[in-house]
């Protein structure tokens, strides 16, 4: 893709910038727009109400109106806040969640960077989010913000461990850290997906299925916790901590946090999809192959990747509007006493199976 763009633009540096900005304008912003509206509509219909109905047909322009409002809003910085860090924090959080998109395999022809350490890179850059959250919470000079930030950081750092272990399990099966290669291995048709044992053959594939389901469960729960969604939305538990680390933020800076949250939701869904659900591969084979138009395939792949990702985002929303919230110690218990031991055990068994 670089070569193609490079030919058009003619300058290496500009090409890189274009490539870097593409996910933002093609995926993150439109996704956030749709996801915010979807969340409101999904929640509304789950709660026997209609949700926003005024702006546009069935309120579809509501998010646009919201964003316009947020842009116009006064940027309030409380006098006691530490201004430099207070201003920096939302950007850091956003960079952390946005950098993840660089390594996501949207389609076989569209990966920001096909780095060999792709999945590892994704796990690493989420560290920026933690730092940003701590920064925002500290700079706000508000006890609720600080407590929220502390909880959030503790939560993300803890849940990175089971995530990493499950990722390791899958790395062991696929033999690569590259998300693009991983997706490629899970060739078209859903029985080749890693959740169903991967593209391996015979007894090994069947043996792997239960452990892959366990891996999926652990991965889903821990990524859910990493993006601070219910039932793990303790950092911003509005009944206790008002809004956690972003209590004092308003206007665009709040929008940055908001955007980062939705970007994160999609990012973790995309990770689950790439690791376990065939990445950009179609479950039923490609229309492009049937019709004999190979140029159609990357777009089909993009479609499948996005729709799988959006499906998991929908599941996240569904959970949010169904479940109550855990308490902070229970959250840690779930992580350290259940998820990590199970994940390690799972890793061990999968290791033995792959050796057979």
């Amino acid at each position: 893709m670089y070569e193609y763009l490079n030919n058009i633009v003619g300058n290496e540096v500009i090409t890189y910038f274009v490539v870097a900005a593409l996910p933002l304008f093609l995926v993150v912003l439109p996704f956030a727009l749709i996801a915010v509206l979807a969340e409101r509509k999904v929640s509304a219909h789950m709660q026997d109400r209609l949700g926003p109905m005024r702006v546009g047909y069935h309120g579809i322009l509501q998010t646009v109106a919201d964003i316009l409002k947020l842009i116009q809003k006064e940027d309030i910085i409380i006098p006691q806040a530490d201004k430099k860090l207070f201003n920096l924090a939302p950007f850091l959080v956003f960079i952390g969640s946005y950098a993840v998109f660089a390594a996501l395999p949207f389609s076989s022809k569209f990966i920001g960077t096909n780095a060999e350490v792709g999945i590892f890179y994704i796990l690493a850059v989420s560290g920026f989010v933690v730092a940003g959250i701590l920064m925002g919470g500290w700079a706000s000079d508000n006890k609720y913000s600080l407590l929220g930030a502390m909880r959030s950081a503790a939560q993300i750092v803890s849940y990175e461990i089971p995530t990493a272990i499950v990722v390791l399990t899958l790395v062991m099966i696929t033999g690569t850290l590259n998300l693009g290669t991983m997706s490629e291995q899970q060739t078209a048709y859903f029985w080749n997906w890693n959740i169903l044992g991967g593209a391996g053959e015979g007894i090994q594939q069947i043996l792997l299925i239960p452990f892959m389901v366990v891996a999926f469960t652990i991965l889903f729960i821990s990524t859910l916790a990493e993006v601070n969604r219910t039932p793990f939305d303790i950092p911003e538990a509005e009944s206790e901590l008002v809004a956690g680390f972003h209590t004092e933020y308003s206007g665009m800076k709040f929008a940055m946090f908001f955007l980062a949250e939705y970007a994160n939701m999609f990012a973790v869904s995309a990770i689950i999809v790439s690791l376990l659900f065939g990445g950009y591969q179609s479950p039923f084979g490609y229309l492009g192959n049937t019709l004999g138009i190979p140029a159609l395939i990357p777009f089909e792949q993009l479609f499948w990747f996005l729709s799988k990702g959006v499906f998991f985002v929908f599941v996240q929303m569904w959970l949010r509007w169904t479940l109550p919230r855990l308490r902070v110690d229970q959250l840690m218990t779930v992580c350290w006493k259940y998820l990590i031991p199970y994940a390690v055990f799972n890793l061990l068994i999968v290791g033995i199976i792959t050796l057979i």
Binding site: V13, V117, A124, G127, F128, L134, W138, M150, A153
Partner: protein, 166 residues
């Protein structure tokens, strides 16, 4: 000046400037957060050197782990219990002397080394070979490190335990 050069100087600048702030910041929280950028810059330099795995480990361990721990420590003492922690310079003269010696050594080394100049190339991933080396050639050290970390963890858990929990 090509793209690699620009990026190199960018990362180098980030590293040096933020490291300077780390040393000089009066506010310890600023110092801690500047450390974030130092680590980030260093990992960027690693990438440019073709050591992508090390770069990622740098980000993961230092930013995701050590720095967050550091921030926890600083914040808990600084803001919640309202203990004022200020970083200031004491013993400036000995520090200057030591730094001077160290700088002279480094510069001397720089001039005396015969630098092999290679054309810039697309870095090849190191992950696979690194993994192989770790579990074959250096397996003993790897295991020993694992045991050391385990001991450290148990020790930490013991210390952190409250008396009442026994």
């Amino acid at each position: 000046m090509n793209l690699y050069d620009i990026i190199f100087y960018l990362f180098a600048a980030i590293t040096i400037v933020s490291a300077f702030i780390v040393v000089n910041a009066k506010n310890i929280v600023y110092a801690a957060f500047s450390l974030l950028f130092t680590f980030f810059g260093v990992s960027g330099l690693y990438v440019l050197l073709g050591a992508d795995f090390i770069a990622i480990v740098q980000v993961m361990v230092y930013i995701g782990g050590i720095l967050v721990l550091l921030l926890f420590g600083v914040m808990l003492t600084h803001k919640i219990t309202s203990v004022d922690i200020k970083a200031g310079s004491v013993q400036t003269i000995p520090a200057v002397i030591i730094i001077g010696i160290f700088a002279a050594l480094l510069i001397g080394l720089m001039y005396s080394t015969h630098w092999a100049v290679n054309p810039a190339e697309i870095p090849v991933t190191t992950t696979k070979s690194l993994g192989k080396t770790l579990v074959t050639e250096y397996v003993l050290i790897f295991e020993l490190l694992g045991i050391l970390l385990l001991v450290a963890m148990i020790g930490a858990a013991t210390i952190a335990r409250r008396d009442g929990d026994k």
